[in-house]
């Protein structure tokens, strides 16, 4: 009696698995994907660069300054601020300007770079810190997640590392 009951349960579960298989492409995949998307997860800010804090309007283009990214205690990367010049099509051939990174109304870094017409040409960015909160650098030899100069689909992005006093390591 017990054996036939477990057998019925077993076949019922087997049939259910088959039903689940049929539902996978139509319902379940989307259901699980939506659940993951709504779970409040985010890609680690060391990769994504954090969320935009302010947009500074310039003549024909804009500068998007993100909130500073302060890695977890265990992460080896330095804290940094991501700044992006957008859109790529509206950028002048040469950019040399002071940027207020922390939103206190005073400039924090002076950035200089040429915007090559050829998208494959390497970028040469010079970052000069105007106070001791940020690190200066010219070009990037050993690129890392916190010290990066790159071209994106939208424009040019620079990650400026915060000075070591903000770092736990």
């Amino acid at each position: 009696m017990r054996k036939s009951f477990t057998a019925v349960l077993g076949y019922f579960a087997g049939g259910l698995t088959l039903l689940v298989a049929i539902l996978v492409p139509f319902v379940l995949m989307g259901f699980f994907s939506n659940a993951v998307a709504r779970a409040g997860l985010h890609v680690d800010e060391g990769y994504s660069g954090g969320v935009a804090a302010r947009t500074i309007a310039r003549d024909g283009y804009r500068i998007v300054v993100n909130q500073p990214v302060k890695p977890h205690l265990l992460q080896r990367m330095e804290p940094f601020v991501q700044v992006a010049w957008e859109p790529a099509s509206a950028l002048p051939a040469q950019i040399s300007e002071d940027v207020d990174l922390d939103g206190d109304g005073r400039p924090d870094v002076h950035l200089t770079f040429a915007v090559p017409a050829d998208a494959k040409e390497p970028l040469q960015v010079n970052v000069a810190s105007l106070n001791d909160n940020y690190q200066s650098f010219a070009g990037v030899e050993n690129e890392s997640y916190s010290r990066l100069v790159m071209r994106t689909d939208r424009g040019i992005m620079v990650r400026v590392p915060l000075s070591r006093k903000f770092s736990t390591r």
Binding site: H72, L73, L74, R164, T168, R169
Partner: protein
């Protein structure tokens, strides 16, 4: 130091330990988890070994507190010293883990009897107080980030005893987070789990060895 400031420091140290405990857990996990799984089964053995581990870790903390005090606040930010210390501690940790992972092959071990096999894993030494103390001490002086945060704060205190007390309380705060490791006792100990833990310990030893060696090599080449 007056009474209110001592009280504030006490709470600060405890709070700091509690707040950074999960980071300590993640940081020490690669050492503690395989080691706890290698241990013989039973709550008593595991809790005893964990106590020895934590006590040795505290010793490591206090030693570091003394050094931090002696060197002022220089050590946490003086990269040259940190790199050497970091590299050496990682290498020592790798050796300790490897010792418990590989053990010493016995002439009549099962693996030896199996003839032409691709690998032989010897009999691991029975984990005792020395092992717990070694790993605890090494993770104690391993310059993990929460530890450095506490080091910076302790070095700002007025006296060496105050710095030591700060570290003890910080340690107490972090130690609470280690209690879940006792739950590994629930994992039924069988030869397979112990072997898995030993292989994992060997792999982790490789990682720490690589980290230590590359840190020291980079230090030698670039400075």
């Amino acid at each position: 130091m007056n009474l209110p400031s001592i009280s504030a420091s006490v709470w600060e140290a405890l709070a700091l330990g509690l707040a950074t405990g999960p980071i300590c857990l993640a940081s020490c996990g690669p050492v503690v988890v395989p080691w706890m799984l290698i241990l013989p089964n039973g709550w008593r053995v595991r809790s005893h070994q964990l106590t020895v581990f934590l006590a040795a870790r505290l010793m490591g903390y206090l030693l570091f507190a003394c050094v931090a005090w002696w060197a002022g606040s220089a050590i946490p930010h003086a990269w040259s010293g940190r790199a050497w210390a970091f590299g050496c501690v990682q290498l020592l940790l790798a050796i300790a883990l490897l010792t418990y992972a590989i053990g010493w092959p016995k002439t009549r071990s099962c693996a030896a009897e199996s003839g032409r096999r691709l690998v032989q894993i010897g009999v691991a030494p029975q984990p005792g107080r020395t092992g717990a103390a070694t790993l605890g001490f090494l993770t104690g002086i391993n310059l993990c980030p929460p530890f450095l945060v506490a080091g910076v704060r302790a070095s700002q205190l007025g006296s060496l005893p105050a710095a030591l007390v700060f570290f003890v309380l910080f340690f107490a705060g972090t130690a609470v987070w280690f209690a879940p490791f006792l739950a590994l006792g629930f994992v039924q100990r069988n030869p397979a789990i112990a072997t898995v833990a030993r292989i994992a310990a060997a792999l982790l030893a490789c990682y720490y060895g690589f980290l230590g060696a590359s840190t020291l090599i980079a230090r030698i080449i670039y400075v």
